[in-house]
Symmetry: C2
Subunit: 265 residues, 2 copies
């Protein structure tokens, strides 16, 4: 999960659990694919497989939306596409601004998934005056000075931050002050926002680090105890101190070259 929710203690929004909301786009994608192939109905089992989830979970998720299935038959594909789209708020058009038109910002601007899903890129904004006017993905890049007026004029409520980490909080503040209440943050920083503003974070390097953890674990399984049965609940309580912890403490001395000292920009 490259995800990170800020605030919001897992509030059950209108009775729909957060975990379910996070899966609805997944279902929607699978359903849209079926729709394009003119498949009229689909069972929870088939759809679950296509979406990569458990069928019981899928049925429970749908039960939060209402009883949209027919027992013995399954779900009407078109109908379900509409219901989920409506629930997610995709039946309306959301104007979005992207701030920070570097490599990533340009990639986002060109991302087809936005336009095709109820989102419209209202403007691309960058702080570099040299970028101003330059067309990216068919849109002229606007300068940061125009940020407030762009948001106000277009009624933008969702902003995407693709700036360097150092500029993110400042951009965030301006977006919020101008009226944006939902932010998708690609900068590797924790954003501080007032209550009522949603922030979702996508952090590329964090995802890789999590993968590295599991990769290391796989590699170390052979070296250490190859025990398949090593998953006992034995170490549940008590300090599960790794055997090498004591030795590691010796290395405390200081400046090891191992530790990368450079933050990602």
């Amino acid at each position: 999960m490259a995800t990170g929710r800020t605030h919001r203690p897992a509030t059950r929004s209108r009775g729909i659990p957060e975990a379910t909301v996070a899966r609805l786009p997944l279902y929607l994608r699978a359903l849209t694919a079926l729709s394009e192939r003119s498949v009229p109905t689909v069972s929870s089992e088939e759809l679950a497989t296509a979406a990569g989830v458990n069928s019981a979970k899928l049925r429970k998720d749908f039960s939060y939306l209402g009883s949209y299935g027919t027992r013995g038959v399954g779900y009407d594909v078109e109908y379900l596409v509409y219901q989920i789209s409506r629930e997610l708020g995709l039946t309306q058009d959301w104007p979005v601004v992207i701030v920070g038109i570097g490599n990533l910002g340009a990639a986002l601007a060109n991302y087809g998934g936005f336009a095709s899903r109820g989102f419209r890129v209202a403007a691309l904004i960058d702080a570099d005056p040299a970028m101003a006017g330059k067309p990216v993905a068919g849109l002229p890049v606007r300068h940061t000075d125009e940020l407030e007026s762009i948001i106000s004029d277009n009624g933008v409520s969702i902003g995407v931050i693709a700036t360097p980490a150092g500029a993110a909080q400042q951009v965030c503040d301006r977006l919020v002050a101008a009226g944006v209440t939902s932010i998708l943050n690609f900068a590797p920083t924790v954003l501080a926002v007032p209550d009522g503003v949603d922030v979702r974070k996508v952090d590329l390097s964090i995802e890789l680090q999590i993968l590295a953890f599991h990769e290391q674990r796989k590699a170390g399984e052979d070296v250490n105890q190859p025990g398949q049965g090593a998953r006992t609940t034995a170490s549940r309580t008590g300090s599960t101190r790794p055997a090498g912890a004591a030795a590691a403490r010796d290395g405390r001395k200081g400046p090891d070259g191992d530790v990368p000292a450079v933050m990602p920009a």
Copy 2:
């Protein structure tokens, strides 16, 4: 959060909960920043604030790694940086290949967070022959034909997929066959992989859809009728679909089909 875990029923890897592992990179980032400012020690409260989490949660997370703090004082910044780096497997150098050098792939290649955090981009791979040899982020793009040999020669175990959705599964299969056991997938597709292979998914459009859901909820708190725009100023252009299932049932639903032909590529 742009994250999505595939498979793996929340296995508690070596006693460290998945949720904790996912937060370690966050702590590491905050700690590295402190380290650069030569801060010697930090309390759980301060660090928790910097990382954007609850202090009790942070202490419990660290307790899974061992007792690395000093009561009454806090945690030694340098020592903790090393411990977390080691736990995440970042004290070694992970060679990574990026497949699909479109907009997103190029952005990833240029992303500083990779190189500075124990990851090394071993190669950039693209299926387009016209791209071959072209330098991106200082590396010459290699053709897909070389995929297997690149992975084998460099001992790559982590692959990043930034191709269009249609090519993702095929690329994935080849990566896995060549020996890759961890995949970071940016293509909007559910990847099927054999046991033992980890897949993490980053899906840009899903994140936006989740934001839209909450945004709609905020806007519609007073209004019951769906499809109500949030901000009062601008008229929300668009497809305010005639409510009702009937309208939905006559072909062509929402924006348009999913699976954008052009991926974040």
